[in-house]
Amino acid sequence: MTFLGMPLLRSKHAHSDLPGGQGNIVETEAFPEVSHEHLSNQQLRNNIGHATSTIRSKRAEVVSELDDWEKLRNAGEATKNEVMANLPEYLAQFEEAFTATGGIIHWARDADEANAIVTELIEDNAPVLETGRREVIKVKSMATQEIGLNEHLETQGIDAFETDLAELIVQLGEDKPSHILVPAIHRNRDEIRDIFMKTMPDAGQLTNEPAVLAEAARKHLRHKFLTTKVAISGANFGIAETGTLGVVESEGNGRMCLTLPETLITVMGIEKLLPRFADLEVFLQLLPRSSTGERMNPYTSFWTGRTEGDGPQNVHLVLLDNGRTRALADEHGRTALNCIRCSACMNVCPVYERTGGHAYGSTYPGPIGAILSPLLTGVEDEANGTLPYASSLCGACYDVCPVKINIPEILVHLRAEDVEANHSPVSTQLDAALTGASWMMGDGKRMTAVEKGLPLAHKATRGKQIDALPGIAGAWTSSRDIPALPEKSFRQQWADEEAQRSGTGAQTGDEEGQR
């Protein structure tokens, strides 16, 4: 396909000739290796296990209050599919409306371009301080995490202050977010107190009580909110019909950034649009309930371009591609772009719960990250081809997704793509085990023969769990334990029970095997 006057697109990928995204969406180490490291961190597992189970039950409770929840999910899914199918029209419509009310739109093909645009806007609008550097305040934003904006600004003489409490904890701790909703979920209160006392010059002595720590953050940021000239935000929704942008939050730091500075720069992925203002009636029900398990989050702000006499009078929006068009080109995977970043999928995922978010090596962890990251970059990029295997395919993520993204189906699709693209069997242990299992289960006699070995194996292992296997199977037991072997196979137990019930005496396994 040729586009007249367009520069040639990089032909990096066999699958799609559209360029992949860059920035913090690339796993540099294979998932099994990096997750293995995190599995041994008991503190992290405890913190995450507690947090995910708490949010999980809160979510289930508030979702059960709505008897039209499934219909809302259907509406959410249909609306996002409608957006993707008509994206150029909706983007044009949004651009016209946002611009008509005094907003200025910039388009960025990738992370580098977005970072350069934001840098230039800051240089034009934020003064150089006595320190010789410029300062901006930031609302938590997945898009700016994705493009590595803070790191880039740092090199340009600009300090970007995160104002969300969790992001602040992560930033001050020189750490990385591990969850998209509660980025400091892996930290406990003692760790947070230590970080604050070490990095906040005026904090003084703090206890580990959450209220005390939140108060310290308030004091630390208050002056910045009231004096900083430029703020950077993301957006949860952009309304094509009206040019409206929206940010959903809890603490009020979002409102501070969106309201007090003179200049507001928002970075938003091109996929975040909703067609009509009225569509918010669906998404403002789906998002908070799926995300924090609340009926509604404490604060939501909407603004349409510039509002005369209210808030920033210099309003910019950077519309970001960074691999989104590449993901859109994948007909089986494109619904991953419907994601509204609620994080419900990671809170139900048994794999995420054990490894934590850092193992995914991306701004987007958990089940959605396991599909979104490779879709944005291509499975060929570094270790992103390993991410679709970071799942047990249990389907819990699909059940909770408010816009019904079929994550398990896309995971399987991406695994196939990875095998095709990277031409190497992913897991020799898995292949060997499956080949063996298929040989055994393909014939009842073989199955029975293997089962007959069970009592012996039970004896040999002394009825204890197995925590180390030799050879390639050792890769399995290095991060998991195998439960103690039973004395009898399920089929044998079944046959015995049946025999007892009918009083006909024990059936032999062989007869079963004949079928």
Binding site: A85, E89, E251, L284, P298, Y299
Partner: protein
């Protein structure tokens, strides 16, 4: 630079969607639920899905539901009928100065003995002045009972966004006639072009071990006065 980026991104999208010549949308995905090319009308999705557009609560039940949800979010709820001045005066009696938007009913803060600063176009309080106010008193545009949400729309009696954000105490009057049951009814009453703030309880965070702390950056105290007329 950015114009080129715009054209290129739009061309990429057309290619990704399998459109030929950048115009017509051709779906080869059997799962796609959209068949019509171009921008679909407002009836395309929302109305077909069959979720509730209207709630079932009315009258006192509706008010009770709102109160229940507000209290759940740790807002303080008070009721007044006719003239709320007495209730408001009591709530703000500890402060020496308050701010009110230009269009607030002048009778509402009349019982307050301290200084009343009116924030109006051309006479806006500076951020530092707002920071020095003990409280802000405003009206509201809509309240959604099911979620305990109060919406401010930047109108003359709600004020610009900063005045309800910087002072640590927000007293917000909700008229019973502005209470709706569910979110779709609330959205339907709003003007998208207004600067809107949805408030569900005071500022809160759960970022430290998921234990909820009220009051981080927004007002730490939210008093809601429900006004029957």
């Amino acid at each position: 630079m950015t114009d080129t980026a715009r054209e290129e991104i739009l061309a990429r999208i057309n290619e990704a969607l399998g459109r030929r010549g950048g115009g017509e949308y051709v779906s080869s995905n059997p799962r796609s639920t959209t068949s019509a090319p171009g921008v679909a009308g407002p009836e395309a999705t929302a109305a077909d899905a069959g979720y509730h557009h209207e709630g079932t609560h009315t009258g006192e039940d509706l008010v009770e539901l709102l109160i229940d949800r507000l209290v759940d979010y740790k807002a303080n709820v008070h009721r007044a009928s006719g003239d709320p001045a007495g209730t408001i005066a009591e709530l703000i009696s500890d402060h020496s100065s308050i701010v009110v938007p230009r269009g607030l009913e002048s009778a509402w803060p009349a019982g307050f003995s301290g200084e009343v600063n009116v924030d109006a176009p051309g006479e806006e309080l500076s951020v530092d002045e707002l920071d020095a106010q003990g409280a802000v008193v405003t009206a509201s545009a809509v309240a959604i009972a099911q979620t305990g949400t109060i919406v401010l729309d930047g109108s003359a009696e709600c004020g610009r966004r900063a005045i309800t954000l910087v002072p640590d105490h927000h007293v917000c009057v909700v008229r019973v006639r502005d209470i709706v049951d569910i979110v779709p009814e609330g959205i339907a009453r709003l003007d998208a072009n207004a600067a809107l703030t949805f408030i569900s309880g005071p500022s809160a965070t759960s970022d430290i071990e998921l234990s909820r702390v009220e009051g981080v950056h927004g007002p730490r105290t939210l008093d809601v006065v429900i006004l029957s007329e």
